[in-house]
Symmetry: C2
Subunit: 350 residues, 2 copies
C-alpha cells in the first residue's frame, strides 16, 4: 500500500487564522484548459494620460481637480462605499433579519504621479513613501472615534476589478471590524492566551526553519506562500517582530516593508513575464483604542493567475458552494517563485 504523501495525494489543510479548511489536489495540475482566456495586461502606458482621473492636474468626477502632485496623493473616494453621516439604526426582527447601520471613510491613494508605473517597477524609496502615507492615514483614521478598523489594500490589474491602471491603492475604514480581520482576531487571541506568543510569530519561526515555503526575505520581513494558501501563487508578508500595526514599525522596518513589497511583486511579474494582477492588503489590530498583544501585522496577496499570463484560477462552483480548492501545492508554488530572479524582467531585457 502506498503511504500518504502531501505532494501527490488529495488532502485538506487548515488555515489557523480563519479556521477554514481548503482542498489541495496536487495530481490535477495537468488538466487541459478550454475555458476563458484573459487578455494579457497591456504593458506600455504613457507616464501621463489626459483621460486618467488619477493623473496629476486632471479632473475627477464631480469637478474635483487633482493637484499637480509628485509621489503620493490621497483623497476621499468619490464613490465611497461607506459614509461618515450614516444615521444610527438597524433592523432586528428575530435572528433571521439582522441589519446594522455602518459608517466609515473611504480613501484613494495614488502611489506615484507616473501613470506607467506599478509597485514592482517603483524604487524602494518611492514605495517607502507609500508606506509613510499608510502610516499617516492609519493614524488619522484610527484616532477618529467613529473608526474601529482601517483596511488598507491594493487591487492591481483589470482581472482583479481594478477600474484604473494608474498605480493606486485604497483604504476603507469602518465603524465595525470587517469579517476577515474579525476571524483573525479570534484565532490569534486564542493562540496568544494559550501560548503567550503570537500565532504568526510561531508560524514564521517554523517556516524559517523549514524553508520550504519561503519566497523572499530581508532583515525585518519574510514573504512566503502560506501552508494553507488558496490562490495558486498566494503570498503573505509577515513582520519578523510581532507588531500590532504599522505605527509600531521603526523607521528601518518601514523601509523593510517597502523592500519586501517590491521583492515579492517583482517575482510575481517575473513568473509569467506579465504585470501580475492581485488584491493585496494589510491586516492589523482594530483601532478601537484597546491593546491587542495577540495581533501580528501581516499582508495578504491574492493573485488569480494559474498557468500563464492568460489562464487564471476560477473560484467558482465547488469553491463557492463547498470548499476552496487548489491544484499545485503551496510548496511547488513557493519553489517556483523563490527560484525566479529578483530583478524585474523588463529591466533585464533592456
Amino acid at each position: 500500500m502506498t503511504t500518504f504523501n502531501i505532494e501527490d495525494h488529495p488532502h485538506r489543510r487548515l488555515n489557523p487564522l480563519t479556521n477554514d479548511w481548503i482542498l489541495v489536489s496536487p495530481h490535477r495540475a495537468k488538466r487541459p484548459w478550454q475555458g476563458q482566456v484573459e487578455k494579457p495586461a497591456v504593458a506600455e502606458r504613457p507616464a501621463y494620460d489626459p483621460t486618467c482621473y488619477l493623473c496629476a492636474g486632471n479632473e475627477r468626477v464631480g469637478g474635483h481637480k487633482n493637484p499637480d502632485y509628485k509621489g503620493t496623493f490621497v483623497f476621499t473616494n468619490d464613490f465611497s462605499a461607506l459614509l461618515t453621516d450614516t444615521p444610527d439604526g438597524g433592523r432586528d426582527e428575530g435572528s433571521l433579519f439582522q441589519a446594522k447601520s455602518e459608517s466609515g471613510i473611504c480613501k484613494v491613494i495614488c502611489f506615484s504621479e507616473n501613470h506607467a508605473l506599478t509597485v514592482p517597477e517603483m524604487e524602494v524609496e518611492d514605495i517607502r513613501g507609500v508606506v509613510d502615507v499608510w502610516c499617516r492615514e492609519f493614524e488619522e483614521l484610527g484616532s477618529n472615534n467613529m473608526i474601529n478598523y482601517v483596511q488598507i489594500f491594493e487591487n492591481k490589474g483589470s482581472i482583479m476589478g481594478c477600474s484604473n491602471p494608474h498605480p493606486h491603492g485604497q483604504i476603507w475604514s469602518s465603524s465595525s471590524v470587517p469579517a476577515e480581520p474579525a476571524k483573525e482576531s479570534v484565532t490569534q487571541k486564542a493562540y496568544f492566551e494559550k501560548n503567550g506568543r503570537t500565532l504568526l510569530g510561531d508560524y514564521l519561526a517554523a517556516e524559517l526553519e523549514s524553508k520550504e515555503r519561503l519566497v523572499a526575505e530581508n532583515e525585518h520581513f519574510v514573504a512566503l506562500v502560506p501552508y494553507w494558501a488558496v490562490w495558486p501563487f498566494e503570498g503573505m508578508i509577515i513582520s519578523k517582530r510581532a507588531v500590532q500595526n504599522i505605527l509600531q514599525l521603526t523607521d528601518d522596518e518601514r523601509t523593510g516593508l517597502a523592500d519586501i513589497y517590491k521583492q515579492l511583486t517583482v517575482k510575481y511579474d517575473n513568473l509569467f513575464e506579465t504585470s501580475f494582477a492581485y488584491s493585496a492588503g494589510l491586516h492589523q489590530a482594530p483601532t478601537d483604542g484597546q491593546d491587542y498583544p495577540e495581533w501580528h501585522l501581516h499582508m495578504h496577496f491574492y493573485p488569480p493567475l494559474l498557468r500563464s499570463a492568460s489562464v487564471k484560477k476560477f473560484m467558482v462552483g465547488y469553491e463557492m458552494l463547498g470548499t476552496p480548492q487548489r491544484d499545485i501545492t503551496a510548496e511547488q508554488a513557493a519553489r517556483r517563485l523563490r527560484e525566479l530572479s529578483d530583478i524585474h524582467y523588463t529591466t533585464i531585457k533592456q
Copy 2:
C-alpha cells in the same frame, strides 16, 4: 436628523446560515465603470459540435468515447479533484500545520445531447430528467461508505470558469463535509434545537409574508433573493416542505424543482438579454447515515453580472480582505427580477 433607512444608508446584514456579515452600500449603484468589460456570451451554437468533448459520440481525453446518448449522460470526471484511492494519513505538527488526506468521487452530468441548449432554454420535463439523475447519483454516492457529502453544482458561462459551453453540471462527493455546508449544519442545528422548526422554514414563511424579495414560486418551491445576498442578483431556491435531501422529494416535488430552476434562470437570462452566467448548487444534509432533521434542502445561485451583459461585480480587495460588499439592495434586485417576463427573451423575439 434623518432616520436610518435600509434602502438608502450603508449597513451590514447577517447571513444566519453562515454567521457571516455582508456590507450593503445602496447609494453606490451610480458609480461609473472604466474597468474590465466582459465579452458577451456567444448565443449561437450548433446543436452538435465535433470538437466538444461532451457531445454524444465524441472522444474525451484519455481515449474515452461518449455513447450516442439522448437526454442526460453521466461519467466520472477525467480530471477529478478527488480520488477514491487516496491513502489515509495527514500531518499534524502542532496546530499550525494541519493536513488530512481526503477521498472522493467527481462526476460530470451532461444535461442534454443538444450542445446549443442551456437550462432556461430546456423543457421542464427535460430538466426533470436532470433532477432524476441528481437523485440517482445522490443515492448511489451517498450510500458509499467513503462518501459523507455529495455536492451537486453547475458552473454556467466562461466568466464563471466553465470550460465547456455544452449544458452540464458536476458532482464532487467527498469523505468530509465541505466548508460551506459544514457552517450551515452548525447554524441550522442550533436554530432547530432552539425553535423546533428548520431555520429555512421560518425564513421562508417570513419571506412569503413580506413578498419583498420573492422572484418566482410554484406549488412546492420559492425562488428569492436572500436578505443577506452578496452577489448583485444572488438567488436561492427553497423547498416549501422541509426535506433533508432530494431523495425525500415526492414525484410532484421533483418536477417542481425542475420548474423553479427554469423559472429563475429564464428571469436571469431576460435581465440583460444574455445567457446569464452563474455558479449554482444544492445544499443538503450530509450522507454519513445520520438523521439531520434541522437540514432544509435549498439551492444557491451566485451570478456575477452587475449592470449589463458585460459588467460584472468583482469580489476583490475589500471583499477578500474585509467583508463582501454589494451596491444595489437585495430588495431592488428581487423587484427587478420579479417584474421580468417568465418567457425566455429569445422565444419572444422569434
